[in-house]
């Protein structure tokens, strides 16, 4: 019996997972966790700007919460396990972020100028300012990872949800508890900021 789909390594094609007779719920879940642990860690590192402790905390918490939900039958068969786990992880990050910052007040992003900059130029982070330790190991697009890490958190999370995780505006808005129009405007600001950061980074590299 087919229970859930996965993604064949490297193919991007959904792969069915067979329910094996005699396999406990925990063994089934452990198999899912093992298969998607690297993808979860990659997402966690991106959300945490490469912070290893933060990423480990997030993945650990996600696997515990997800198993609880799995036992309660909250995992819908046929839904991508990776998308389901990613959502739990992202929600965990956002809830923790709300506790630690003034996210609800929107101060972190609402003070941005129309051009997407934060504060005067001398105070802005440049892509090249991002420490190497904050980069995901073996990243395939280092300039873009650096630029992403240099974005203010409120903008970076929206880009991760919509442009990398490929959620709709409505899904991202629901997850972040902000209006769809705010998702739209933050995305726009974030994308132009990324363009500028990439351009600056390329220019700096040429000068080295």
């Amino acid at each position: 019996m087919l229970t859930m789909e996965g993604t064949a390594k490297g193919s991007g094609i959904p792969r069915p997972v067979e329910r094996k007779a005699g396999v406990s719920e925990r063994e089934r879940f452990a198999e899912i966790a093992r298969r998607y642990e690297a993808a979860l860690m990659r997402l966690a590192l991106r959300l945490c700007k490469g912070g290893h402790d933060c990423a480990q905390d997030l993945v650990q918490e996600t696997l515990v919460r997800a198993y609880e939900a799995f036992r309660q039958g909250k995992y819908r068969e046929g839904f991508s396990p990776q998308a389901w786990l990613s959502r739990i992880l992202t929600n965990g990050f956002i809830n923790d972020y709300r506790r630690r910052t003034r996210w609800d007040a929107g101060v972190d992003v609402e003070t941005l100028t129309a051009g997407g900059e934060v504060g005067p130029p001398e105070t802005r982070a440049a892509a090249s300012d991002v420490p190497d330790a904050a980069l995901i190991e073996g990243t395939l697009d280092e300039p873009l990872e650096r630029a992403l890490n240099a974005l203010p958190d409120g903008l970076r999370v929206v880009v991760i949800l919509v442009d990398i995780q490929e959620l709709s505006y409505a899904e991202a808005a629901a997850m972040l508890n902000i209006p769809v129009g705010t998702v739209r405007s933050r995305l726009s600001r974030a994308r132009y900021m990324l363009q500028n950061l990439l351009k600056d980074y390329a220019r700096e590299r040429r000068l080295l």
Binding site: K9, G10, S11, G12, R26, F29, A30, A33, E37, A38, A39, M41, R42, L43, L45, R46, H52, Q56, V59, Q60, L63, V64, Y67, E68, R71, A114, I136, E137, G138, T139, L140, D141, L144, E145, L148, V159, V162, D163, I164, Q165, E166, Y169, R184, S185, L187, S188, R191, Y192, L194, Q195, N196, L198, K199
Partner: protein, 109 residues
């Protein structure tokens, strides 16, 4: 609705600088969420404005690069650090505790 006044083409220095009123519309054009009248307005403007044409090309390229960060087939082969042994043990202990609590609650019934 006015289409605004498209600016004259300039050098690469302002390659990613679209007309002010087009910033969000171009962002939406790039991800396919712009519809109806606003889309027609944007298309008409873009057809006459090289600033906005190049900005849209840049946004499309950026979207492709971002998408590949999450979905690149090669991403599965790039090594990332997994959970530490201690944390894995903590997770497995939490799973075992949940199983035990479920067994206990069933036996009480």
């Amino acid at each position: 609705m006015s289409e605004g006044t498209p600016r004259q083409p300039v050098e690469e220095e302002v390659y990613f600088s679209p007309c002010v009123q087009m910033r969000t519309l171009l962002s939406q054009m790039a991800d396919g969420t712009l519809r109806g009248l606003l889309r027609r307005y944007a298309e008409a403007h873009i057809s006459r404005c090289t600033h906005c044409q190049s900005a849209l090309r840049g946004l499309n390229r950026l979207r492709e690069r971002l998408k590949s960060l999450g979905a690149s087939p090669a991403a599965d082969t790039v090594s990332v650090p997994l959970l530490t042994v201690e944390r894995r043990a903590t997770v497995e202990a939490a799973w075992a505790q949940m199983d035990e609590e479920a067994r206990d609650s069933r036996s009480e019934l």
